[in-house]
């Protein structure tokens, strides 16, 4: 059977399968905005929830960000870093590798780590969302290096998933990150860094 025929066949089967079924209205009685008390403590909540995933978290003032990042990188001995386009230069000290022209997967595999910003962060779930915008780069940049340092600004933090979905643009490729990559496939023991970065370090600017 040819493909065009299948399209029509499937659609007509659907039509007759649901013929006569009633319409279903959708009730959205769940929370879509945070309670005001929670909104005040978003920075603290995000830091706590990100740390719950065994990520390393720092909460700092704007003026301390660059020094905190430099110290974190030094502690790890990370010298060959990738810095995506549009990242504030003080967030990636030394002479970072740029992705222009695009690095090959093999080259990315060999760097020590990557520093990025983000698009949105969700306090309640401890999730950081990257949308490949300025300071974030394409999706592979935060996947292949073994270490990811991500900087979150207070105004990028929302309380819950509904607010994040509302802020994000679905036409951009999105990566939602909640802690380092992990598996529980071996006797349910949690092991970090199966394929993605083994270490996620987050600097939250309050």
């Amino acid at each position: 059977m040819n493909a065009a025929g299948s399209r029509e066949r499937i659609l007509s089967r659907i039509r007759s399968a649901v013929a006569g079924a009633g319409e279903v209205e959708i009730t959205r009685a769940y929370r879509t905005s945070p309670d005001p008390a929670a909104a005040a403590g978003l920075v603290g909540l995000l830091a706590e929830r990100v740390a719950d995933y065994r990520a390393v978290v720092h909460v700092v003032d704007e003026g301390e960000a660059a020094a905190t990042i430099a110290a974190a990188l030094a502690r790890r001995g990370a010298t060959r870093l990738v810095a995506p386009d549009g990242l504030p230069p003080e967030w990636a000290p030394g002479e970072p590798v740029t992705d222009d022209p695009p690095l090959s997967a093999a080259e990315l595999d060999r760097v020590d780590g990557v520093v990025t910003g983000c698009a949105v962060a969700i306090a309640e779930t401890g999730t950081i969302v990257l949308d490949t915008g300025p300071g974030q780069g394409r999706r592979a940049l935060t996947l292949l290096p073994d270490y990811h340092l991500c900087v979150v600004r207070a105004e990028q933090i929302v309380a819950g998933v509904p607010e994040a979905v509302g802020r994000l643009d679905p036409s951009r490729p999105l990566t939602w990150i909640s802690g380092p990559s992990a598996t529980s496939d071996i006797e349910l023991n949690r092991v970090e860094g199966v394929h993605g970065p083994r270490t996620l370090e987050v600097v939250v600017i309050r």
Binding site: A17, A29, R139, P170
Partner: protein, 470 residues
């Protein structure tokens, strides 16, 4: 291997279950797994004050989508095409396999990487590709264990839960070299060491393979977006590194609008792994970052399920596996006994609807349950699994199978501890049952009285009122 085709000719559920309950290692692993995840899930769900409202919205969104599936599928096709992707329609497994094989061949490649996808297991894609000279490499750690061990997955979420660490070490040592990079000489059975061996083995594969095959957890009709939730990063590897991406997705995975994600991204991780959020979620629309993208929309029996007014609710399933972890029959019998990529309570209702009930195995599946109702309570999209089971039992009259099945699972109905559960079932079935269960269930009710079924069981009343405090 893990293909649907392999399950053909398997004996009926009771026979499989009887064998499985003799396997004490399997029972120990399953018990540990289901109880651990169940506990984590309860905590994660308890954190959300609006769980009931989210569950209701999820059920309604899914029902609304199924009611308007034609319109939303066409919308999805338009949106994906507008974003530079290609859409293919597959009426059955054979057609889907043919489409994928042709797409792979057109790239000139003979190997593909895969991220865990139940739809492709359902259609036996790996085996079909093998016949065309194409090797499919599973990249999820558990799937890798299953594939290297020449085995079947036994749980939706943790497919290799039936294997312990020393078995995994042996599988890696014996088989990895045949499939690519060998396991290290000094490999121990530490989970960390085993995961590291898998990381090295698979990274070579990711960096060199140019075609990937995925499933998807959701598709958004409004925007043409696909959504994949995962933990390890193998999904991200498959979705971003290869030049060509082929996603095979069941037509029931659709959601109407981008906003609907806000409901399902709260329900799925918490129901599934008991986490507030899974480590990685990727969304992409059409040909992202210059990749060639193909979406294969799969029917393969789903429209038959849709045509059944009671059975169609099974299409709401978001494959979270919460129902497996609370099921007393699954806990004893294990996933293999169901003879399908969809084990546990959801498998017991979905498989016989997708495949029909011609084989002895498929006909026995509606009896692979005690009807205790725990699966319904756990289900984030409120699928009334007991209702569908009873409905399907009416279709395949097989009381002997039920008796065998329950005995095999070590399940004795007339124990007092079971009575509470039986009463709950009674409450649910009240609208069908005046005093005696119909059809194949009559043998069951003939030997016990259901004189007066309360609208609510004691256990339900206790849960609702905290023992009369509320």
């Amino acid at each position: 291997m893990s293909g649907g085709a392999t399950f053909l000719g398997m004996p009926a559920f009771p026979v499989n279950a009887a064998a499985a309950v003799q396997d004490s290692q399997l029972r120990y692993n399953l018990r540990k797994a289901t109880h651990t995840i169940r506990g984590k899930r309860a905590l994660a769900v308890g954190e959300l004050p609006d769980w009931t409202e989210l569950r209701r919205a999820a059920k309604e969104i899914k029902d609304h989508t199924l009611r308007n599936l034609e319109r939303y599928l066409v919308r999805m096709e338009e949106a994906v095409t507008a974003a530079g992707g290609h859409v293919h329609w597959a009426a059955d497994a054979e057609e889907a396999n043919r489409i994928v094989a042709d797409l792979v061949k057109a790239t000139g490649e003979t190997s593909v990487v895969k991220v865990k996808s139940m739809a492709t297991q359902e259609i036996g894609l790996n085996e079909a590709l093998e016949l065309e000279g194409i090797t499919a490499y599973e990249t999820d750690l558990a799937e890798l264990i299953v594939q290297l061990g020449d085995d079947w997955p036994s749980h939706i979420l943790v497919p290799a839960i039936h294997r312990n660490r020393s078995e995994i070490r042996e599988i890696f040592r014996e088989k990895m070299a045949d499939w690519g990079r060998a396991a290290p000489e000094d490999l121990t059975d530490e989970p960390r060491a085993l995961a590291e061996a898998a990381r090295l083995h698979l990274r070579e594969r990711f960096l060199s393979t140019r075609v990937a095959i995925s499933g998807a957890n959701f598709m958004i009709a409004e925007t043409g977006t696909l959504v994949v939730l995962e933990s390890e990063g193998n999904g991200r590897m498959c979705l971003t590194l290869p030049e060509t991406l082929i996603s095979v997705v069941g037509i029931e995975k659709l959601l109407p609008s981008w906003q609907d994600l806000e409901v399902f991204l709260q329900l799925l991780p918490r129901s599934s792994t008991g986490e507030r959020m899974n480590p990685y979620t990727s969304t992409w629309t059409g040909a992202a970052e210059g990749q060639e993208f193909h979406l294969v929309l799969l029917d393969n029996g789903r429209t038959d399920v849709l045509a059944d007014e009671i059975g169609r609710q099974a299409l709401r399933c978001i494959r979270c596996s919460a129902c497996l972890n609370v099921c007393p029959v699954y806990e004893r019998a294990g996933g293999h006994a169901y003879g399908s990529v969809y084990p546990g309570p959801i498998g017991a209702i979905l498989t016989p609807q997708l495949r029909g009930t011609a084989s002895e195995l498929d006909a026995s599946l509606p009896y692979a349950s005690t009807l205790c109702g725990a699966c319904f309570d756990a289900c984030p999209v409120a699928i009334d699994i007991p209702e569908v089971l009873v409905h399907l039992r009416g279709r395949v009259r097989h009381p002997r199978v039920e008796r065998l099945g329950m005995r095999a699972a070590g399940w004795v109905f007339n124990r007092p501890a079971r009575l509470a559960r039986t009463q709950r079932l009674g409450g649910r079935l009240r609208r069908f049952v005046p005093g005696r269960l119909p059809g194949p269930l009559s043998a069951w009710t003939d030997t016990r009285d259901i004189p007066d079924i309360p609208s609510e069981s004691f256990r339900d009343w206790w849960d609702r009122t905290d023992g009369g405090v509320k």
